[in-house]
Amino acid sequence: MRSTSGIMDVPRIDANLGKFSQACTVILSGLAFVFNQPLLVLITALALAISALFPAASPYRLLYKYGALPLHLLQPRIIEDDPSPHRFAQGIGAVFLIASSIVLLLTQATIVGWILDLIVFVLSGINLVVGFCAGCFVYYHLGRLGLLPRVRYEGGFHWRGV
């Protein structure tokens, strides 16, 4: 996800990169569940963790930049928004999927592992379909409590089109 300084220093992101990342997470976590592939959960977890910690090296971003954009599958859509809550949300997704991978690979509690995977599937799906970012919502409230930096702009915690 990209942030640039715009008019009056309003933070901006590429909304379509966000949608692309969410779609990839939905597909990967869904496929991992259907084909019973805990390793795919781990790969998705790593992709999300890299996206949260090093956005410039995000596999989703690279795929978007060198795949989706050159093939004209998507066009950048720059909107006013704070990238920090979205990175936080990706970090939360990574934590859930890492926990899921550990449970699936190292224990017999596979149901718990797949429930964690499906939570990420559902929340990414909701963000993709209606634009409600649950992780951003948590970030916003933690910011209000002084536990995280305050959201500098929208934070994407409302339903798109509502």
Binding site: V34, I79, V122, E154, W159
Partner: protein, 153 residues
């Protein structure tokens, strides 16, 4: 093996279906409220302007409350930017939702902040429940002005 994959696929589809149904009901509820609000009786403003001046104005009713942090932290700066961008054409009236039950009922205010854009006749042309960014508000203002300009022509 195949039956296991099929079973998992069915579970995944059911999860997705339940999610879609919940979202569909939620959106339908909001859309019904919006339609009721858009068909509300016009909110008149006493004015001494000429009819042409009135026709080139958009009023924004910004529903807020004292303890709505999102209103003060995000929505108010955005509304100031809208006024800076469009000048006298746009005016913003802040409405304290808890002390204005008649207006909150009329515009079906579901959450704070809520912004209602009125045309020159006081009729609601757009309603945004929740925070709305400057780009969206400016587009709504421009759409209303375009409609008003067409009426004058």
């Amino acid at each position: 093996m195949t039956s296991d994959i099929l079973l998992r696929l069915v579970v995944l589809l059911l999860v997705a279906l339940v999610m879609c149904l919940l979202l569909w009901f939620g959106r339908r509820l909001v859309e019904k409220s919006r339609q009721r609000a858009l068909s509300a009786t016009p909110f008149k403003q006493e004015s001494v302007d000429t009819p042409k001046d009135r026709a080139l104005r958009v009023r924004v009713l910004a529903f807020t409350s004292e303890d709505c942090r999102q209103c003060h932290q995000f929505q108010e700066p955005v509304l100031r930017r809208v006024i800076e961008a469009r000048g006298d054409i746009v005016s913003v009236e802040y409405i304290d939702a808890p002390s204005s039950p008649e207006l909150t009922q009329r515009y079906q205010v579901l959450t704070l902040p809520t912004t209602v854009l009125l045309d020159a006749t006081g009729k609601a042309q757009a309603i945004n429940y929740g925070f709305t960014n400057a780009m969206r508000l400016l587009k709504q203002v421009d759409d209303i002005l375009e409609q008003e300009a067409l009426k004058i022509d």
